[in-house]
Symmetry: C2
Subunit: 331 residues, 2 copies
């Protein structure tokens, strides 16, 4: 930067101001500086700038998996909301492991992000205390935690699944099966399972037809195995409710292979409203949870919290996001 200054005949300070753009610089000076910058191929060193200014320009976000379009949509929402700012997204993924989340939080905190967005409300104690000690705003998403760390932008997975099952029961289904993963690792899955039981409980229907199929990430393939197992153990099941559309799709295809017609022989429902749910034949009845909106809203909340946003409306600590049933042909 000093070199650039020399070449343009000004001090490093003036170069800094010209590059930031928000200070007043004489037009000719500015032009000379820009030319020097071009000629030297100079790019600002933000690590040094952050140290000096105390602002790193980072927002950290942690999602369970990068390879799941529900969560990557949330990441897209965050990115878009940050587009007009000079903030940069530091993205990490946990592969659904809470211990990896803790590591990730620590390594991100080392970069001194100005805010952090998490997925879910389940964290290790150490993670919680590091976040608290950091003093930066935190947004938990995709959940309605009982004891939030700071802000929340999400929905109750239990309520959402409850709504879906209630809708199906209202349509006349009585013999429900549930296909999910090992609950220990997939906290959102566990909550959905709870919603399944809760809804059926209200209808005085049994909710013991449950298949647990491996640890997250849950794959389409597991859906195929699970539906076979479900139908083998309880052949008269009327509807299989899956913890995600990916599982539902795998189940659907397995049925197709076995010559079992959906929804005539068995109905199938999913969760998440992935692209595939709308495209496959029959389309999958599911819950849409506005993944993109969760990310965009979480990012905007963070921006208000760090005073980078005109704070149109006072950001609530808890922002519930919308979800709704999408009726298609599979159930």
């Amino acid at each position: 930067m000093v070199d650039v200054g020399k070449r343009a005949g000004v001090s490093a300070m003036t170069v800094s101001r010209a590059l930031k753009g928000n200070a007043s610089i004489a037009e000719p000076t500015r032009r000379r500086i820009m030319e020097a910058v071009e000629a030297l191929g100079y790019v600002l060193d933000q690590s040094a700038g952050s140290l000096s200014s105390g602002k790193t320009g980072f927002i950290a976000a942690i999602i369970p998996s990068i390879n799941n379009s529900n969560f990557s949509e949330t990441a897209r929402g965050i990115t878009e909301a940050l587009a007009d700012t000079d903030l940069q997204l530091l993205l990490g993924y946990t592969e659904y492991r809470i211990d990896r989340e803790e590591q990730l939080i620590e390594s991100m905190l080392r970069r001194r992000p100005e805010g952090i967005i998490l997925t879910g409300g389940a964290h290790t104690d150490r993670a919680r205390s590091m976040l608290l000690a950091s003093g930066i705003p935190v947004v938990e998403t995709w959940d309605m935690p009982e004891s939030p760390i700071d802000q929340v932008v999400g929905f109750s997975n239990t309520d959402a699944m409850d709504l879906l099952v209630t809708t199906l029961a209202d349509k006349g289904y009585r013999k429900f099966g549930f296909i999910g993963g090992e609950t220990s690792l997939d906290t959102r899955g566990a909550q959905r399972r709870l919603g399944f039981a809760k809804a059926l409980g209200r209808f005085d229907l049994p909710f013991d037809r449950q298949i647990a199929t491996g640890v997250p990430p849950i794959t389409m393939k597991q859906g195929g195995h699970a539906i076979s197992e479900l139908l083998q153990r309880w052949p008269d099941t009327e509807v299989a409710v899956c913890v995600s559309d990916l599982l539902a799709f795998g189940a659907l295809m397995e049925c197709s292979r076995q010559g079992c017609v959906v929804p005539r022989d068995i109905a199938i429902a999913g969760f998440g409203d992935y692209e595939i749910a709308a495209i496959c034949d029959p389309g999958i009845t599911t819950i849409n949870v506005d993944c993109y909106g969760i990310g965009a809203t979480a990012a905007r909340s963070l921006l208000s919290a760090i005073g980078r946003q005109p704070t149109e409306d006072r950001p609530n600590r808890i922002t519930p996001t919308h979800f709704h049933v999408v009726q298609r042909d599979s159930a």
Copy 2:
């Protein structure tokens, strides 16, 4: 850090050494320091550390879309390869826009990454010169560029598609259709289209049955529209070759809705070997391109280049990655 030192009765310097772990510290001292760190919830400030040491600990990677499992697998490969190092991934996505790539490269270069991984070989001139000026190792992936910037880990999209089409022609198909996107934006798609024409040219078969369906990201839905258009314009088409499995799947489902049986009435082939290609019914014949391996190899090449890896074998500037046809029932 000074505070931690005070609490433990040592200088900040000793704290720094204790936290890095590679220096020799008396065990009792070390324990006192660690206790103080815990008590204060202290987390190292890496921006300051980088400035001082000249190492930021960042590796930058840019992919077209986070919401495409081929590319997110590559990102996973990179992450895994970095797992045993103290390097952190700075991930960005361009939404398939070369101008966004340029912006992204600039904002990443500001963070002074120690290496950078790009997708594809098409970049703006300014992007190229910034990368060159930065002096850091660059790896281009998912392509075989004619004039590489530095290292390359990838394959020829043209050759891969050529192989697929040749395989299909060998099986007896003669009337080929092609479904892709607007070539201007999707460079890899354009190369695949070229491979399609090249292979058919060798067989003296016509390659004019081509549908272009919108700009990337190409969705499953577009596959449905495209196959309808293809069959309307050229009803006797025997096989529809799609630029990606997502398109192929959309086409497959549209056929299913129209009561058109695959592969009896029309065969369909894809590209990328996405999870869905193996699960759907019928399974999609496609090209597997080892997405994960591309990422892992690219990251390892970078590690050697920056001397963070024992450089087992001299990293070649050009590392071709493997691809192969996966035969399933759709074609």
